[in-house]
Symmetry: C3
Subunit: 460 residues, 3 copies
């Protein structure tokens, strides 16, 4: 190429290496799509279409799921109007790469031909293998429910990861306690049985080569050494409706508060419920801390995805309802980082306020690793400055560049392609141009960020 | 041009379209300036001069306003020392464009000739028309007090907008209640009469073609479904000094608190005052919510300008006393956005923390629109990254690019010119260079952001 | 140079002027290094090595300090792995400049030769003078303990600065009260003696030509007009163990609180301790305010370095344990800025949230000056956008561009070199390219930011 720049050459160097994707939501039993509806039904598209004014009924009718082609037909006229988004550019790139599409805008005139052609190709034998090959994908990590049997797939390629949101935040629901009992054979009634159940999960996951324990956390969560077992035991009993436990917990309320409550017209029943609900947070902290203890024992990194508020927009589409609050700080995690020096914490953040904090915390705490560009942060406008700071100030071994977060394998390539372009530009500008590095050295460092660190930290 | 870049050509495309300015503080009865004092007396200059050390007495003497020429003579020596600011570059550009000035620095040596020449041109018949023509200004939206009669100007060019800060935050003052009574013929004594008065205002403003209802909000405001009418009624009575209402409100204080207050040495009078002051916030929330209900009914967008703290620097010049606090989040508005799906909320923010939030909230909530670059955010260093994220991740229909916020028409051109340059650069870099868009497509999208969306959302 | 850019030429202009460094931690009795251990023992390296996994024992053994060469030998293998950091690039640059080193990566193969060569050069007579000459350093400001005798060094070149963290935050410790008594001859027992002691310190420091009073502050500090002297007097007595004062303070606790405390099982002793600890904050505010009063009287700027949390990572190396919390705002300082219009407050911030606030506060408050790029903010990725906003929106006289914060003179050059490059680029892009300034004018403005403002504000 006559006008090839240093960034172009560095990009070629980065593209030559297979992709190692340390976090996704791929279903290993159905890793690729059957129709474009599996692709355009991704929440990144449905939520943007909803945000651009498409009625929820056109996407997720109350009467039940739409026919795939009908869903796409409904989406396209709205997607036309949001083709400025980088999310839609992922689609354009994957359609060109995987289906030989020659379009550059998805419109009501051309979508159907693409839909049919894609469906045809998706139905061909070896389609998944072709996507993996074209993506040059070496390995992809999953996000598994704690009660996933992890059976019937190649755990060497599709590496399991123990996702623990339900355990930490929903143990007060009978459903989660039942799933836990079923998965482990242990009825959780007190802290000992809870620990035993969690240990079973770690044994199961590590026996299948799990790469990490992971969780997403709301902005106001602040982990800490939990209350003594005795209190937790009472809460666990109270969750199960044990009246004595509820009454006992209520007793602990300082009299001045219960008097005030009484004056405010709260009944004993209100108070009981308040206690059980207040208990959720205590129990969440207890379960969270116990998970960290098991990460230490089993040698698993504990992926923290910090800052999401769930269901902020309840009228949104599936997975398009969550947002965040910038009033959040990694200070909330200092006690955790200090208490578990042996555990590696790859940290992902949402709020822009926390990105500089993440750089600084990874610069100081040996066990804090800056991990990828999560969700609302995963657009070039945010990736570029965040990445720049990480490359300049975090020890090179502690920057896990990127993960796809994909639900279908078709997205791994365009998402990584977006990231690699930004990485190549940053390397060329900061390291080659400003500091005089050779392009080879820049590529070597880029590959460490892009995959070397993931491989080392999450196992490979 | 031999070295013309893609950004230059896109800029030409953007410049070709008339300006549609959806938010200003223009006085339609005196839209342009009579002397340079009207221009350099803009708070952007007086506050910077004050900040650079000019005594307030030199700008706003206690004895009363200065002669216009004297004000400018006082300002210039200080303005010389802050000619690095983008605010001063607006002045340079407008002086060159509108007055044929050939200077590029305003100094104590050249200001007087410019002052005299400008005054001469400003006095010429058709001066305002010339400014509008040179600006290529199609329409400009105003900011009207709720009791503005909206008479004797062309509401098709100078579009009214109902500004509601006083109603929401100052209804406890007799002055505002009197102005409201005078404007609507309704004495506000309870929630019903308050609603009736607000309805009158909406009827009046929409009959004059108003484009929006608007308000600026402090960082700690958190709107929500208000208390039942009964409580509001008591507060409204208490504001008017009704002793029974005050006593009644005081009764609601839990005994434990009033005991503590007594021990702390507070008298019953202190408590009464606390109640009435506490009531302001309840009433603010009530009025705010009622405005949103009327926006829904009358089909008006509700412009939210979030985050300003008033009078942080009381010794500052007029309009140069307000600042903000970054500890603020759009989370505070989630309940509002959910409760009024039919109302469009164009949102402007001050704090940098809220800019990424705004991108994410506009990406999820159908009724949240990212609106312009407000006040302290309105400099290229902040506009560029904020705009970049909006262009990449918000549906293209939901980005209202820019408004001038101008007090005099002369400022519309240089402010929009600054924004258009940044927009053109971002379009060239992200859309043409990175994504391979044609320049025509980039211009088409740019014009949607620059004016198409304003036109559609605020009426035209 | 054939391909010399405007930025290159502006950089040359900036480099031609001597460096004026308004804040450092240089020890004037030992301003330069004796071995590379003095350089690589800088916390920027030891903390990064620690963060990259080096055991603390390898850096700061419990048994006592390592032999210098052994320390460097221990560090180098880890430093190899973090040569992406800008911190390490400072080292490369200083080694090349001062020791004639021709390497560009520090490795286990080449470090020893460099170590020996550097030690040889450092031992040569006139080494410090050579470093000063090569750095083209005109003056450097120190950070002195309040009880520093300030003797036996050239206070015209090494300008003293009164650092007051201990006074404000540790006056409750007997150690600090003893140091204060020894330095001033005044035993602090009440507010009057405290004021007298502080006045002695200001007299001493200003007699030695001190340039500023300075302090670093935690994110939750909120200065304000302090309690009346009477209360402070009681606290000061309580600090010294006066039982009557302790009992008296305890009496002020509202009964409802002490009842609750009793129910919670707190003893009278617990309460006493709580009081004395609570008192620390009151006393901190009192001392801080008193310092501001003395800055006013003695005409010293009061450097505020806002936002550091101490000892967040207690297992870190010396000076590598502090971090910050982004939930912090300059709003917390509005009362201070308003109360002391005669005092200049050069403000440095850590959290990214506060950088835009700093621009806006310096744009409004005459006595707020944007000061340098502090600690975790001192990397190009953060400097560039922060500087850009300051150059565009803060009056040019109120931007103190940079200080080195260095512990050894060898660091002044590479740190200033990093900053000057960024400054030159910003000047070329924003002022020459966008606004059409001449390069001479850009250099003139750059020099004001780089040194002119420091000289004027801190004395010279």
């Amino acid at each position: 190429m006559p006008n090839e720049t240093a960034a172009d050459r560095i990009l070629s160097g980065l593209e030559a290496a297979p992709i190692f994707d340390p976090h996704s939501h791929i279903n290993p039993h159905s890793p690729t799509s059957e129709t474009l509806a599996d692709i355009l039904g991704y929440h990144y598209y449905t939520e943007l279409a909803r945000s651009a004014g498409l009625a929820k009924e056109q996407i997720e009718p109350a009467a039940g799921p739409l026919d795939p082609k009908e869903l796409v037909a409904n989406l396209v006229p709205t997607l036309e109007r949001l083709d400025n988004t980088v999310q839609l550019s992922w689609f354009i790139e994957l359609a060109q790469t995987f289906f030989g599409w020659d379009g550059d805008r998805l419109t009501r005139d051309n979508w159907e031909a693409l839909y049919d052609e894609a469906a045809k190709q998706m139905a061909e034998p070896g389609y998944t293998d072709r996507i993996i090959r074209q993506t040059n994908l070496e390995k992809v990590f999953l996000t598994n429910d704690f009660d996933d049997p992890l059976e019937d797939f190649d755990t060497n390629f599709y590496v399991p990861c123990l996702r623990t949101d339900d355990l930490v935040f929903k143990l007060h629901t009978p459903e989660v306690r039942e799933r836990l009992a079923k998965a482990t054979g242990i009825e959780v009634g007190d802290s000992d049985s809870l620990r035993a159940a969690i240990r079973k999960l770690f044994e199961h996951f590590t026996s299948k080569g799990a790469g990490a324990c992971a969780i997403s956390l709301p902005p106001d969560f602040e982990p800490g050494e939990p209350d003594e077992d005795l209190t937790i035991n009472e809460y666990l009993k109270a969750f199960r409706g044990d009246e004595e436990a509820i009454a006992g917990l209520r007793m602990e309320l300082p009299e001045v508060v219960s008097d005030a409550a009484e004056k405010a017209g709260l009944t004993a029943e209100d108070l009981d419920r308040m206690f059980v609900e207040g208990g959720e947070y205590d129990v969440s902290r207890f379960v969270f801390w116990t998970l960290a203890e098991h990460c230490r024992e089993f040698g698993l990194p504990f992926d923290l995805m910090i800052g999401v508020n769930r269901n902020v927009y309840p009228a949104g589409v599936h997975q398009g309802r969550d947002l965040y609050d910038s009033r959040c700080s990694l200070s909330q995690y200092a006690e955790l980082f200090n208490a578990f020096p042996e555990v590696t914490f790859p940290v992902s953040v949402l709020a822009p306020t926390m990105n500089q904090e993440l750089v600084s915390y990874a610069w100081i705490f040996p066990n804090v690793v800056a991990n990828g560009h999560w969700w609302y942060s995963n657009i070039p406008a945010h990736i570029a400055p965040n990445l720049r700071a990480r490359l300049q100030a975090v020890p090179g071994d502690k920057v896990v560049g990127y993960y796809s977060d994909a639900y279908k394998l078709e997205f791994v390539l365009p998402k990584f392609a977006m990231y690699r372009k930004i990485l190549a530009k940053e390397l060329a500008a900061e390291f080659c141009e400003s500091r005089g590095w050779s392009e080879e050295r820049a590529v070597e460092f880029g590959l460490k960020v892009l995959r070397g660190n993931s491989e080392r930290l999450f196992g490979g």
